[in-house]
């Protein structure tokens, strides 16, 4: 799994690729926590390069969502470009209703 972060004016884009499973999810979790520790609460997770995601990855995403929603300054974690498989996993968990999901990165970044 690879992670890169790009800062935009209104949101940060975290691009993840590869497999997000129980062995790699802690790295995603730490990356997201690091952003929030630096008071970045508007985050777009670009999932276009994610070939596989298990519940461990969802757990990291949900704990981030919970924290950005709580504040102190309220933000959001929005998702862009999930593959068919990742979209299915989100749906299985009932999280497709919880996260705002965009088909393209520009739309996700522009939504902030």
């Amino acid at each position: 799994m690879e992670i890169t972060i790009r800062e935009f004016k209104h949101a940060d884009v975290v691009t993840v690729s590869g497999r997000v499973d129980s062995s790699t999810a802690p790295k995603l979790d730490q990356t997201l926590k690091g952003l929030m520790d630096d008071k970045h609460y508007n985050i777009v997770l670009d999932l276009s390069g994610v070939e596989y995601m298990s519940s461990a990855g969802l757990r990291a995403m949900v704990s981030c969502l919970r924290r950005v929603k709580k504040g102190p300054r309220t933000g959001d974690l929005r998702l862009a470009n999930p593959s068919k498989r990742v979209a299915e996993v989100l749906e299985l968990a009932g999280l497709d209703e919880v996260f705002t999901v965009f088909d393209d990165l520009v739309g996700a970044v522009g939504s902030f």
Partner: protein, 263 residues
């Protein structure tokens, strides 16, 4: 069961992917379509992660033994995966609190893995004996949608072509097409896996020989594996065991192709 395959991995998170790969390959060979293969891999991933977390309560405390195969029940053929560990028993229903919620604040994320396993598999069974836990998961094989011929990269430059059921008529054409596609794409190190095939006609034998010849002409080779029972009889009847190198498993065949034994 004669068609069972087995793998033991250490109970560590970074070993689980190996289990998923192993089970995925077996599920594909057994005739599951690509979405069902993904479901089986997801269920095995979640089950192994649960074993490490709840049964062993940490990494490096013990092994996970994975066995998969197929069995026939009244409804048809099923693919099954059995996971065994020596950790402490854990109550699946305690872990299994459903985590569906519409509000992020109410989300309980524990138990998601178990929820996935229940949703994507047709049936799951737990049993706990002193010193050993066992989980068996089943997935039905839809005969109509299952591909009869498939191919995939095996190891390094080696590709595998697999075929299921009776190798005659259209199945032979499908196999020829798969072999020709690989050969014309420059993949000349080939393994044909016949472990799921029950019969091969003379057209099928011709297709194998002409692919073997084409592969060798381009500096490659074609080996067979999983030749059993009736199929072995047919192959020996026409003397093909002298033409083809025959191995018991795909990985054995791949190794032989990667390191040719000229001796």
């Amino acid at each position: 069961m004669p068609n069972e395959q087995n793998l033991v991995i250490p109970g560590q998170y970074d070993s689980i992917q190996q289990a998923c790969q192993f089970v995925g390959d077996a599920a594909e060979s057994a005739g599951l379509d690509s979405q069902s293969v993904f479901h089986v891999q997801l269920a095995v991933d979640e089950a192994c992660a649960n074993i490490v977390e709840h049964a062993y309560e940490g990494e490096g405390k013990g092994d996970i033994c994975i066995t998969c195969g197929t069995d026939d029940v009244r409804e048809g053929t099923r693919f099954y995966v059995r996971l065994e560990d020596q950790g402490q028993p854990f109550d699946p229903d305690v872990v299994a609190t459903p985590s569906l919620a519409t509000d992020a604040d109410e989300l309980k994320i524990g138990g998601l893995g178990m929820l996935f396993m229940r949703k994507v598999m047709d049936q799951i069974e737990f049993s706990f004996r002193p010193g050993s836990n066992e989980l068996v998961m089943f997935k039905r094989i839809e005969e109509e949608t299952a591909p009869r011929v498939w191919h995939r990269p095996l190891e390094q430059s080696v590709f595998l072509v697999g075929a299921r059921g009776r190798l005659d008529h259209t199945t032979v054409l499908d196999m020829e097409t798969a072999l020709n596609q690989l050969l014309s794409a420059g993949h000349v190190q080939l393994v044909v896996d016949l472990s799921q095939a029950s019969y091969i006609n003379s057209g099928g034998l011709r297709a194998l020989v002409s692919a073997w010849r084409a592969a060798r002409k381009q500096g490659g080779d074609l080996h067979l594996c999983g030749v059993h029972g009736r199929l072995r009889e047919i192959i020996e009847m026409v003397g093909f065991e002298r033409v083809f190198q025959i191995h018991s498993t795909p990985s054995e065949a791949a190794n032989a192709l990667i390191v040719p034994s000229d001796a």
